[in-house]
């Protein structure tokens, strides 16, 4: 049985393995090794037998190839209506075949399945909304990724990403010390301007436990400071856990279900340890999907719910605006045309579309909807891990055209993107297509217009 030194079916569990993968520039040797990677047909058959249950079997069998899903897929639209980009074709030619052949496929097939699962689908689940039978190709692609991962057919960056979660319980190499120190640093940096500002760590029995995306402490620590300042202004009793602070899941994007379980369990453990009233997740879409929607099932929680009630950041914002904990200065509302990028993971798949509109009502004078929008909105173009995979850069950039045209049609030059993936995709879109737009999370926008209670101002 051929298993590569870097490319193999073993998940990454040690720093040593992680560093050797990282040292392989662009995954060059990794993908070379993949060409010779053995496929264990009986193992795939056994996985299919145990986990491909009646819902997905039915979906695969009842698809009539009517093609109604075609126009729902942004890849189909962006690729000149290529029939090979029709979602039903994409899933039937991969998972469908795998199922019909009972796992009897070869290396070339698995590489094709990997390329399809990661570069032709972002698991945005839009097709499921348009299929007359409700067949959700996104769900099935997510499942297919798991099978690919089990055989070692996974994009290099996501093998690394899932390893990061397994080793650090974060998508990046951030230790507990790094995280705690970043929190302290942000307080130091802003306490002059905001006397009394704190980022309480591991404070039990508070109202809110706040959790983030690892990219915030790593690259955008101001985001953490902004969250702290907004909680401070709103007078919230809150904390961050020293362990279990990371919400995201590249393991989910990789199809590494074991890694995904380990990651969410660290967050659930923090909930149990600190006993907060609820948890608030930062402005991230897939983090919400991983930890709030899918995570409880990975962790085998019978309720299907997180141990304490969980809010996406937009839900906290709207609550604070409604009850006056955050008050917007009407003169500082956004005057220019502005649009909102509905994240697939918390709008289509999380039902928070109304909340996004309500927030825009508070903060913008000229809000322009994209068309389509809300649960019908298209993926930003970089979801499902696609933003981070070098092998599929070209495919990703082609897919961005749909979002580009949607934004252009609104006439807005500012896009509110309360999701890290969307934020990245819109930024990259500007870099690739130069349409002259700006993009922002909600936190800095709110801070620029919120009324500051007099007693919180620094005394000169």
């Amino acid at each position: 049985m051929t298993q590569g030194k870097l490319c193999n079916k073993r998940p990454v569990n040690t720093e040593e393995e992680l560093h050797s993968l990282l040292a392989d520039k662009g995954g060059k040797s990794y993908y070379e090794e993949m060409q010779d990677l053995d496929v264990d047909a009986s193992e795939i058959a056994s996985i299919l037998e145990k986990t491909l249950k009646s819902r997905m079997r039915t979906w695969l069998e009842i698809c009539t190839h009517c093609g109604l899903c075609a126009d729902s897929c942004f890849f189909f639209l962006a690729n000149n209506r290529d029939p090979e980009q029709v979602p039903s074709f994409k899933i039937q030619s991969t998972l469908g075949k795998l199922y019909r052949r009972k796992g009897g496929v070869d290396n070339e097939f698995m590489r094709m399945a990997m390329d399809t699962a990661w570069s032709k689908c972002t698991c945005c689940n839009r097709c499921g909304l348009y299929c007359p039978f409700g067949i959700d190709m996104g769900v099935m692609f997510s499942y297919l990724r798991g099978i690919c991962f089990s055989q070692g057919f996974v994009p290099w960056e996501l093998k690394i990403g899932s390893g990061m979660h397994r080793i650090y319980r974060a998508q990046m190499d951030i230790t507990t010390e790094d995280w705690v120190d970043t929190c302290r640093w942000m307080v130091e940096e802003h306490e002059d301007e905001w006397p009394g500002l704190t980022i309480p760590i591991d404070k039990p029995d508070v109202d809110i436990m706040y959790t983030v995306n690892a990219r915030e402490p790593k690259h955008y620590p101001e985001d953490l400071a902004e969250a702290a300042i907004l909680f401070h202004i709103a007078g919230e009793n809150w904390t961050v856990p020293s362990i279990g602070w990371e919400e995201t899941s590249l393991a989910m994007f990789a199809g590494d279900w074991e890694g995904a379980r380990l990651q969410v369990e660290s967050v659930y453990e923090a909930m149990r340890r600190l006993n907060p009233g609820r948890m608030v997740v930062t402005e991230c879409g897939h983090a919400y999907r991983a930890t709030v929607i899918e995570g409880p099932y990975w962790a085998g929680l019978a309720s299907g719910k997180t141990p304490v009630e969980t809010f996406h950041y937009v839900e906290w914002v709207v609550e604070a605006l409604r009850n006056g904990k955050l008050k917007i200065d009407p003169s500082r509302k956004i005057k220019e045309p502005v649009t909102y990028q509905d994240s697939c993971n918390y709008v289509r798949n999380g039902g928070l579309g109304d909340i996004a509109r309500e927030i825009m009502g508070y903060i913008a004078e000229d809000f322009r909807e994209m068309s389509p929008c809300r649960e019908h909105n298209f993926c930003c173009g970089g979801g499902g891990g696609l933003n981070g995979i070098g092998r599929y850069r070209r495919e990703r950039n082609i897919g961005l055209k749909v979002k580009r045209d949607q934004i252009l049609a609104t006439g807005a030059k500012l896009v509110i993107t309360p999701c890290h993936n969307c934020w990245d995709a819109v930024r990259d879109l500007e870099e690739v297509y130069r349409i002259g737009i700006r993009w922002s999370f909600l936190k800095p926008i709110l801070l620029s217009m919120v009324e500051i209670p007099h007693h919180l101002l620094p005394k000169e």
Partner: protein, 310 residues
């Protein structure tokens, strides 16, 4: 005051003038010098790509790349390094201002030196109206003084002979004063305390009577005596001046008249979004136009710390 100096560089000609000053200061004060370059912006979500700060090319953030850039840095500053080898070259991928502030905190540096902006093509104030956003953010948030060098320093012969301290009487300005007065005392330079009465509203049609102006000048004079001169005790190598006009113009004219080789000010504007701060605050205008380095000091930490340890 200059025990550990962090020189944050884009490693492009935009920072050549800053490099000159950074190495000169390190040499004169026998500082430990950290040469820090933020390689590029982390890009593409979680991926290990970096958009190189100098070339704009996409690179893999790995050991090869880091070594290559560090080698380039050594070449860029080969001449200075030959003269002053007590320097450490450090790199990091990230958002420049974040990584500069993170390193300054981690290494507990006493002083940061940086260029005004990363644009290579222009160094004057005419072509654009704002200074670099990284510089603004570092200057605003750093715990230690930040020396910003934009144009070649024509008066920097001795580091420093004539220190111009510009004040708007804010709390942050007091920190700037602590630094300026301490520096003057330690190296025996002449300290000029300067305030400009802001008459820029005149352009908008608000007319001040001469009496009003004179009253305000008188009040400012009293403030300077009360807040600053009273702290100088026996140090008499100091003078003060109050002029009226557009503050950044006045301080630049005053600096030129006094052969200033260092301007010390506080940079405490809340507005850091370049879109919003199109005109720039006084300190940005001074930074862009001054022919000597500008030290931005907002916080007393590093200055008081040293006072305690002495």
């Amino acid at each position: 005051m200059f025990g550990k100096v962090l020189f944050a560089t884009t490693a492009t000609p935009a920072c050549d003038n800053a490099a000159h000053v950074a190495f000169n200061i390190a040499e004169k004060y026998h500082s430990e010098l950290l040469i820090f370059h933020v390689l590029g912006l982390p890009s593409r979500g979680f991926s290990p790509f970096v958009r190189d700060a100098r070339t704009g090319e996409e690179e893999y953030y790995d050991q090869d790349y880091i070594q290559w850039v560090e080698e380039e840095l050594k070449n860029t500053y080969a001449e200075q390094l030959a003269r002053y080898p007590n320097a450490r070259i450090m790199t990091m991928a990230g958002t420049p201002h974040t990584e500069i502030l993170r390193l300054a905190r981690k290494e507990d540096v006493d002083f940061i030196v940086m260029g005004a902006h990363s644009r290579q093509e222009r160094t004057g104030a005419l072509g654009y109206r704002q200074a670099g956003s990284n510089m603004q953010r570092v200057a605003r948030s750093a715990r230690c003084p930040v020396l910003i060098v934009n144009r070649p320093c024509t008066t920097c012969l001795w580091y420093f002979s004539n220190i111009i301290f510009g004040t708007d009487f804010s709390r942050a300005s007091y920190s700037a004063f602590l630094f300026a007065s301490k520096l003057a005392r330690e190296i025996g330079s002449r300290l000029y305390i300067f305030h400009a009465l802001d008459l820029s509203a005149m352009h908008a049609g608000k007319i001040f009577s001469q009496e009003e102006i004179e009253d305000q000048i008188k009040a400012a004079k009293e403030k300077i005596h009360r807040i600053y001169l009273s702290q100088m005790q026996d140090y008499d190598n100091v003078e003060m001046e109050i002029w009226e006009g557009v503050p950044y113009m006045e301080i630049l004219k005053y600096c030129r008249e006094k052969n200033g080789d260092l301007i010390v000010m506080a940079h405490h504007t809340r507005e850091i979004d370049p879109e919003e701060a199109l005109l720039g605050s006084t300190v940005e205008q001074v930074v862009l136009r001054a022919s000597c380095p500008v030290a931005s000091v907002n916080r007393p930490d590093k200055i008081q710390e040293q006072r305690k340890t002495r």
